[in-house]
Each structure stands twice: as structure tokens, then as C-alpha cells.
Symmetry: C2
Subunit: 204 residues, 2 copies
Amino acid sequence: MATGSTQGSPRRGRPGYDQETVLRRAIDVFIRQGYDATSVGDLARELGLTKSAIYHHVPSKEHLLALALDEALDSLEAVIDEASRPQDGSAYERLRTAVRESVAVLVAHLPSVTLLLRVHGNSEVELRALARRRQIDERLAALVQEAVDDGSLRRDIAPDLISRLIFGTVNSLVEWYRPDGPVDAQVLAGAVATLAFDGLAVRP
Amino acid sequence: MATGSTQGSPRRGRPGYDQETVLRRAIDVFIRQGYDATSVGDLARELGLTKSAIYHHVPSKEHLLALALDEALDSLEAVIDEASRPQDGSAYERLRTAVRESVAVLVAHLPSVTLLLRVHGNSEVELRALARRRQIDERLAALVQEAVDDGSLRRDIAPDLISRLIFGTVNSLVEWYRPDGPVDAQVLAGAVATLAFDGLAVRP
């Protein structure tokens, strides 16, 4: 339909990418071959740009990493912010909602969350992201502690371990879940919450 | 005490490593910097050997990877072999034991299991390991199905998803568990089984 159209007039040899597209493609490459092993040249090749043209789109590799990690962290932070309002229900209800919402964030932002979970702290950007992630984990652990304290979670497992296990289960989804696969995101969120809080065994 | 001893007479500049030590150190390097990014030269440096001396100890990088992956896979296969004997109890009992035993294997073989979980299939050795791993996963999934069929696991979550979630939870332990940390391996195995089968919520 738009054959021969000059709309948007992308210059020859320099496709007219927007920042969002560049970011998505960069995240894919970072996940596929590892952030450290990816050069700006690799990103240029992925986008079909020359190495000098890439800087029109990409200030630096680290800038793209920072955008991706902020996307994941902002979304996860919003989950724990919402779960921290006592007027919204018991600690148990808010924790259970936080688990479901964390799964929803992971599904909606799968590539950036995957990247976040693989960050090892090799740069300033990564260290800042790890510090923010640790803060989120601590706030979730505090919510678990609250639910143990008010008697709604079992006391025979240490609250810290409970927290590790629940959010380890959530994080493990990045290893196999694919949004275009057979499992619906809502079903997944419900299943994780059911497993963690209700257990899989049928009550006698 | 053994100062000046010539016992074992390691040649100058060629420390007398046994195969086991070489393997352990290689696995550590593979995990730290990624298998693909590790050269035989890196392994030589790690062991304090010259690049030509390393071949006295290491036939090839891939040989070490194969040994590491076999260690993890043999141990995990033993777990599902044991869980596949109907005379040993109900499907539910055997599945619950398999979960605990999988955690025990993960703790006892943490580096090699970590390596296994990061394999992406970039070589023959890795593809063979992935095929073996898939077979183990399928046998575990069949055991889950058996436990659903005999009415001991809930039917409102698809058996495939149950299986993914349980063993995703087990696998996620490699991300944070450290044998020298505060959590005992037996306590960990029990906590994972409790979370998965009984759930964390206190029954009203």
C-alpha cells in the first residue's frame, strides 16, 4: 500500500528508528549475547546501521542498559509501593496481591526484568540497579514479616527464607515463560499465588 | 612441617593438580565469566600454569564442561530414577521426596547444577546436556501428572504448569543459596516442599 512512499523520509542507509525500537532491539541483543559481550558495533549491525550512524540513535550502550533496568525497577517499585498502604487490607492480602502483581510486571516487561535479574554489578549503572533491587527485596521481606507477625503466614519457616522462596519462584518464570505461549498471564499469576500460599496438595 | 619436602615432586612451574581440582576451578571460572567467554588460556592463568602446560591437565575446555554437566545430570537422573519406583509409595509421596532430593542435589553440586541451568546449546556437548535435562523434566512432569490423576494434587492448575512452577522454584535456589550461608540444606529442602505442597498461609 505504501509502496514507494517517502513518508517519514528515512535517509538512505539510516533507518528512521525511534528510541523505543532501538531500546527493545538492544535489550534483545543484551539478553542473547550478554551485556558485557555486546559492543555498540553489534547493536549497529542488529539495527542495520553503520557504526558511525548508530550514535545518532544511541548515546552509549550503558544509557540503553540504564533505560532498560529503570523500566523493570520502576514497575517493581510501583508494586511494593502499592502493597505498603495498610489501609488497603491486611499484610497477607497485600502480600498476596504483590505476588500476583510481580508476576504481571514480569510478564509485561519480560525482557527488561530478565536483564535486571542477570545484572552482576560490573558498572556504576549495574551497581545502582542492584542497590534499588535490594531495596525492593527488603521491602517485600518486611511485608512477609508483617504477615508472619499477624499470624497469617506459618512460623515454622524463617520469614527471610519465605521471602527468598516466594520471589525466587516469581523470578524463575523468566527462564521459561513466553507471553505468546499457552499459559495466560492471569492464570500464571493466580497459579504462583496458589502454589505459594495455598500449596498444591489436596487437603484430606 | 613439610617445608623443603620434595614429596610428590611437582615440577617447577607446573603445579601438581589432580583432575578433580582442575575441574572445580574450571567450573568456577565458567560460572564467573561464562563458558563461551572462557579460553583455555584463562583456565591456565587461573591455575597458575603456562598455556602450553595446561594441556597436560586439560584435554579441552569442552571436556571439562562435559564432565561438569554429567555430574549434575547423573545426580538429577538418580533422583527421578528413585522416584519412579511405584513400590516405594504413592506418586505424591515420591514426588514430594523427589523435590527434597532435587534440592539436596542442587546444594551438594551447586556449581555444576548452576552451569547446567545456564547452558544454551551452543555446542554438541551442550545440546546433549539439554536433551538429557529435557528428559528428566519430562519424567518429573509425568510424576506430577500421576499425582494429579490419583487425586492428591489440585486439579485447578494444569499439571504441566505445576511441574514448571515446582522445579522452577527448586532451580531458582542457585541464584541465592550458598552452602556456607545461614540456611541449612535440610531446612531448605523441607521449606521448598512445604511451600510447594502445603502452602505458606496459616489455615483459618
